[in-house]
């Protein structure tokens, strides 16, 4: 039953993802991509569980590796996105550097 519920969750999430990114100005494409990339680092949650669950050394090592990579993704992703966005705040219609 839980798997099915998760299916419902999946379906709703996909729709929501589609709807959210309906009309985005071109200048935001790169930051948006980067921001979404940071969110996809959510796999860190899985990594944490794997690394912490003590299912054997291999599993723990794999988990730890996963934690490291996922952390890179999360930390780097959010920071980079933030840097990109703070560029916009300064010069409002800055069309440079974000031509996609």
């Amino acid at each position: 039953m839980e798997a099915v519920l998760l299916g419902m969750v999946l379906m709703l999430s996909i729709f929501l993802g589609f709807e959210l990114i309906a009309k985005v100005p071109a200048t935001l494409h790169t930051p948006l991509m980067s921001g979404a990339n940071a969110i996809s680092g959510i796999t860190i949650v899985g990594a944490l569980i794997s690394a912490g669950a003590q299912l054997g050394t291999v599993s723990t090592v794999l988990g730890a590796l996963a934690v490291m990579f996922a952390t890179i993704n999360v930390v780097g992703g959010y920071l980079v996105t933030n840097r990109m966005l703070s560029m916009f705040k300064k010069k409002e219609t800055g069309n440079t550097g974000d031509r996609t």
Partner: protein, 452 residues
């Protein structure tokens, strides 16, 4: 913390992701959006640490600190201009993390077949995201040649790879075990496939590829979520996956390409080097508005068709919008455009186009190479390159406005019909020409309506 409570926090985190993504879509709120989504991430991570299954922390802490330092340094040090390749690298780490999560999940004891399938999925998608991203980084940062790399049997090799991957996956699922040789085969094949998929794509198309890989890494997280029955992974992963697909699509449109064209044009190029000519490429008003939005210099080239359509007012309006958008806008007037001397002047003056935005043919031609988009509005003879090149053309020798030298040309007319002189116009078949068919006024109004 009970698993229920943790999941309540996951719900909150998911809601924050939703808000975050939404707000990232508008310039005014983007910064806040990114912040919200990072808070969501923090919540999710924190809640997870209370999970009863998480017993040891040493590994975690070590790995996390290492990862955080790497991520921080990389993000802070990177030059503004090499952001896209940095995003590619981060994305690759996400992919390989999913691969590891899936792999580690094999060591769970009570996996169902369904779970094994999702494990394989997370390994495959994670793996190809990883190598694909690395390659994309390589091409963008010019560590390796950024051009499309193609070789003869590429298609065949790729097909073979896919089949092998599929077979191994099935075999693995039939007899899943953490020591199955198929597992290693799957990992290897997935990584190889990632490389092969990105190889034939040129450097200029990399942003699209990265966006697509980004979508994949979301899907990998989602698959990993199913593998370990974790809610937030599924929600966030699926959402990012879907958003990534849409975004990829938008970006393709803004580049005036289709996704398949981006992904497979390299193959095509390998086989048929010079078939491009003779093909008319129509464009719709929405895509046209996306391209105009990104342009920094736009020149309008009006002709008799603008007069017929009485489109002078919408032309000026679009011009104003583009100016507000930061573009430099000019109106290039050919001396014989229209059906009477000064025809265009009458109309553009009526619609209040400032005199200093009108430029003569001789002034625009030397700098037309630097124009991002030339918008030809119901002109035909006056932009016909045959006047330069085709001795048999009735207009051979007439100086024209060389719009074909601009980066992109839009031609707004109703059909492929010829103009006053009856001469065929090779401009319409140009590599960088897009035809926006329809009455010029209607077409421009539509373009404007997409321009919010």
């Amino acid at each position: 913390m009970s698993i229920e409570l943790i999941n309540v926090w996951y719900i909150v985190a998911a809601a924050l992701f939703v808000f975050g993504l939404k707000q990232l879509g508008s310039p005014a709120t983007a910064v806040r959006g990114n912040l919200l989504s990072s808070v969501g991430m923090l919540l999710a991570v924190a809640a997870t640490l209370f999970n009863a299954e998480v017993l040891t922390f040493e590994w975690i802490i070590g790995a996390a600190i290492l990862g955080a330092i790497i991520g921080f340094v990389a993000a802070e040090k990177v030059a503004m201009t090499s952001m896209p390749e940095m995003v590619a690298l981060f994305n690759g780490s996400g992919g390989i993390a999913s691969l590891f999560v899936g792999w580690a999940a094999l060591y769970n004891l009570d996996n169902s077949t369904f779970t094994y399938i999702t494990i394989v999925l997370s390994i495959v998608i994670g793996g190809l995201t990883f190598t694909g991203s690395i390659l994309a980084w390589g091409k963008l940062s010019e560590v390796m040649p950024s051009r499309a790399i193609v070789f003869g049997a590429q298609r065949f090799v790729n097909a073979l790879l896919l089949v092998a991957l599929l077979v191994c996956s099935v075999l693995f699922c039939l007899d899943p075990s953490s020591t199955s040789p198929y597992l290693y085969a799957i990992v290897g094949l997935a990584c190889l496939f990632g490389v092969m998929a990105v190889l034939p794509i040129g450097g200029a198309d990399m942003p699209v590829v990265i966006s697509l890989l980004n979508s994949y890494s979301g899907l990998a997280a989602c698959a990993a979520g199913f593998a370990i029955h974790n809610n937030i992974l599924i929600v966030a992963g699926a959402m990012v996956g879907a958003a990534g697909i849409i975004l990829t699509n938008i970006m393709c449109k803004a580049m005036n390409r289709s996704l398949t064209n981006v992904l497979f044009s390299g193959f095509g190029a390998a086989k048929q080097a010079s078939k491009v000519e003779g093909e008319v490429k129509p464009i719709n008003s929405e895509d046209a508005s996306l391209i105009l939005e990104a342009a920094q210099s736009v020149t309008f080239v009006p002709g008799y068709g603008m007069a017929v359509a009485q489109a002078q007012h919408v032309v000026r309006e679009l011009g104003e919008l583009l100016e507000q958008n930061g573009a430099e806008v000019t109106y290039a007037i050919h001396p014989v455009a229209g059906r009477m001397p000064g025809h265009m002047n009458v109309l553009l003056a009526e619609s209040n186009v400032p005199y200093d935005q009108l430029v003569e043919m001789d002034d625009i031609n030397p700098r037309i190479d630097n124009i991002d988009v030339a918008v030809v509005i119901g002109a035909n003879d006056v932009v016909n390159p045959a006047a330069r090149t085709d001795e048999n053309s009735p207009i051979y020798g007439m100086p024209i406005i060389n719009v074909d030298h601009a980066r992109t040309v839009f031609v707004l007319k109703r059909s492929m019909a010829s103009g006053f002189s009856g001469a065929d116009n090779p401009l319409f078949f140009g590599e960088n020409t897009r035809m926006l068919f329809g009455d010029a006024k209607a077409s421009l109004s539509e373009v404007i309506s997409h321009f919010k």
